[in-house]
């Protein structure tokens, strides 16, 4: 006979993330009174090593056969606690999570209300846990290849690392060339090294790598499948007929440059004297800084154009413009030693390795930094006037210039929504792709097997982009090198005693998992094909099919608990 449920309940403080809003002691005392609960504890960080050890030790010492953790979202730490349960000798599918952080402490202010709601969520989790059945995890083979979307620096580096590890890589680039935005740059900060010194070599290594296939002028039309077994349909010239099969996908689609005509007061597009940092980059490369045939005497840089601008819906810092301005200001001083170069800034954020030193070098080279908000730019004879409020002196002033450079920020690619919807990837409020966790999983996404690299995740400079690309490649290599991925254990099962063989489950399943057994006239579910959506279980008129881990008795117990608790 199945032994009686013995449940251990663990309430996490999550530092102060939960404990500041939810009275964890009260929730723990409450949990200890619930049926089948043998032990209830709380701890600062349940996901930490000592937190997990609590679960494992209790499981052995108290003979627990079910574990409930009330902490963050199961999308965050369910795998962690399932593993801990297993190590404690509890079947990982006899673990249940109550989400009292994302669904409670982070979204409610009132301590009493949040505590009562946390109790309800714990009650429901305990009710479900008592009814959980042990399940076996199975594994599916992985297609040992990767698709990298985007042929900029991030995509190139990620593709090379995976290819060097011995796996085929399909690199999909929407334009007709590799190198992305960096190919439009001349020199990079903080060493003023020419891009030509390393980018062509990087592109060359990718193009000549035997494991890498590059598709140019190509776009991703569809993505099906799941981690280990993606099918990516690509449209474009020289693209194979069928979908590309891959075990992992890296998104490295980069960024778009802010369109400065959205700030019409700066006169970009109307005055030839006003250019963007990217346009100046080209002029510096060509060695021609003249405006209307005249060498500029007075050059102005304006920072944060399209960044840190709430009115324009771009409240974030683009992270590179301070260094780009410091770089270009130095290069202008080198090219035109008689020129006066002024940078108008809100703040100078030259963080990172050699950043502050680089800013000092710019000032030593004679670049003048002036804290000020630019309100408008207008023409005066053959020059322009920059109208600016000096925010240190609290005074408005007019600054005549021959050349004004707008340090334009980064924004998400125009087609980012399309790719997001193909992969069902969430995006953050600023429109960039959302990482699975801001600290612990910065290159993972909500979709297993899909990773992020470079500025598609957030603005960043080249070293950070390369670091993230290498991290994404390493993460993508995990399923490729393991060769197997864990498969859905929570599949549908048929009780042949109840099945009438009507075939409604066969009709409704999008994956062809159930089929009628010709000999017995009852339905059977092919567990390899079943994705665990549960549509068949609802359809079955005799309730002969049930989705394991989400059975009616488990869910109805949750309903009852949630409605019952005031």
């Amino acid at each position: 006979m199945e032994p009686k449920p013995r449940i251990g309940v663990y309430i996490c403080h999550c530092g102060t993330n939960i404990a500041a809003t939810v009275d964890v002691e009260a929730v723990t005392e409450f949990a200890a009174t619930l049926p089948n609960v043998v032990i209830a504890r709380n701890y600062t960080y349940m996901c930490s090593e000592p937190g997990q050890a609590l679960i494992k030790d209790d499981a052995r010492n108290f003979g627990l056969n079910r574990i409930v953790v009330a902490s963050c979202s199961p999308r965050m730490h369910e795998p962690t606690f399932r593993a801990a349960s297993q190590e404690g000798g509890v079947n990982p599918y006899r673990f249940e999570m109550a989400n009292i952080r994302e669904q409670c402490s982070w979204v409610h202010h009132d301590r009493d209300e949040a505590t009562e709601k946390a109790k309800a969520l714990v009650l429901a989790a305990v009710a479900k846990a008592a009814r959980l059945e042990p399940l076996e995890e199975r594994e599916a083979p992985v297609t040992p290849a990767a698709v990298v979307i985007g042929g900029g620096v991030a995509g190139l580096v990620a593709a090379l690392d995976i290819a060097d590890a011995g796996f085929p890589v399909y690199l999909v680039e929407k334009s007709d060339r590799l190198g992305g935005r960096v190919a439009e740059l001349n020199r990079t900060f903080p060493d003023l090294e020419p891009v030509a010194a390393w980018l062509p070599d990087l592109i060359g290594r990718v193009q000549s790598h035997p494991n890498i296939t590059v598709y140019r002028n190509a776009r991703v039309a569809n993505i099906a499948g799941f981690v280990g077994n993606f099918e990516v349909t690509v449209e474009g010239p020289d693209v194979p007929a069928g979908p590309l099969k891959a075990g992992a996908i890296i998104i490295a689609t980069g960024y778009n440059v802010f369109d400065p005509t959205l700030k019409p007061e700066f006169g970009y597009g109307r005055y030839p004297q006003v250019v963007t940092t990217l346009e100046l980059e080209q002029r510096l490369a060509a060695g021609d800084l003249t405006v209307n045939g005249k060498t500029p005497k007075d050059v102005v840089f304006i920072k944060c154009v399209g960044s840190r601008d709430v009115q324009l819906g771009r409240p974030y810092c683009s992270r590179v413009c301070c260094m780009i301005s410091a770089k270009q200001a130095q290069l202008v001083r080198q090219a035109l030693p008689d020129s006066r170069v002024t940078v108008f800034y809100m703040d100078v954020r030259t963080f990172g390795k050699r950043g502050e030193e680089f800013y000092d070098e710019a000032r030593r080279a004679g670049v003048r930094y002036r804290r000020g908000n630019v309100s408008e730019i207008y023409r005066r004879s053959d020059r322009v006037v920059v109208r600016v409020e000096d925010t240190l002196l609290g005074r408005t002033l007019e600054h005549e210039a021959d050349l004004v450079v707008l340090a334009v920020g980064m924004e998400p690619q125009e087609d980012v929504a399309e790719l997001a919807s193909l992969l069902k990837l969430p995006r953050s409020a600023d429109g960039f792709f959302l990482e699975a966790h801001p600290k612990l999983r910065p290159v993972d996404t909500a979709v297993d097997g899909v990773f992020l690299a470079g500025c598609c995740q957030a603005p960043k400079d080249i070293p950070d982009t390369v670091a993230q690309a290498k991290a994404a490649a390493a993460s993508a290599l995990i399923p490729l090198m393991r060769g197997v991925v864990p498969m859905e254990a929570a599949t549908a099962v048929v009780d042949p005693e109840l099945c009438a063989g009507c075939g409604m489950c066969v009709e409704i399943c999008p994956y062809g998992a159930p089929a009628l057994d010709p000999l017995w006239g009852v339905s059977r579910v092919n567990a390899v094909l079943c994705k665990g959506c549960g549509a068949c279980a609802v359809t079955c008129p005799s309730k002969a099919i049930r989705l394991q881990h989400f059975t009616p008795d488990q869910i109805l117990a949750q309903v009852e608990a949630l409605v019952f608790w005031e």
Binding site: S73, P74, R75, M76, N99, R101, E102, Q103, C104, W106, V107, H108, H109, D110, E113, A114, E116, K117, A120, L121, A124, A420, S421, K424, L425, P426, R427, S428, A429, L434, A446, A490, I508, P510, K531, G532, C533, G534, A535, A537, V538, T539, L547, F550, P552, I555, L556, Q558, V559, E560, L562, V563, F564
Partner: protein, 142 residues
């Protein structure tokens, strides 16, 4: 805005891939919403058995929210369409049985729509406050 002191109880059945993740995003974004909603995670809105909704209403829930992926975005291809058909049919049945079908809301909320999730909960809470308690609760009390 009415505030009659009545705090409705909402049971929410959310699909793992879109609305549950959207609710998580509301959390990580610290978007505040009324604590009246209590969430049950399911893999797909297409696995919401109408009996779950009935059970919640008969037990005394003042409202039931079903959240799924936007049309065309279902992780399981078509589960949300199945949910839509079932909930429409269920509402017909509720009406025939004299149960207020407007206590059941079906909403498409994606993984990136944390704000939309919070807004939906706020709207539904307010709506149910105005509507008052679910009378089933009294009738079934022993």
């Amino acid at each position: 805005m009415t505030d009659n002191g009545f705090e409705p109880k909402i049971v929410a059945f959310l699909c793992n891939w879109c609305t549950y993740t959207g609710a998580d995003l509301a959390g990580t974004s610290r978007i505040q919403y009324p604590p009246n909603v209590r969430i049950i995670r399911l893999m797909c809105s297409g696995s919401v058995d109408p009996t779950y909704v009935l059970k919640a209403l008969l037990d005394g829930a003042d409202g039931v929210l079903i959240g799924g992926c936007h049309p065309g975005d279902c992780h399981y291809q078509s589960g949300n369409y199945k949910a839509r058909r079932r909930i429409i049919a269920l509402k017909e049945i509720l009406k025939q049985a004299g149960i207020d079908e407007d206590r059941v809301w079906l909403r498409w909320i994606s993984a990136s729509e944390g704000q939309r999730f919070a807004d939906t909960v706020a709207q539904m809470t307010q709506y149910l406050k105005e509507k008052g308690p679910n009378p089933m609760r009294k009738e079934w009390a022993v």
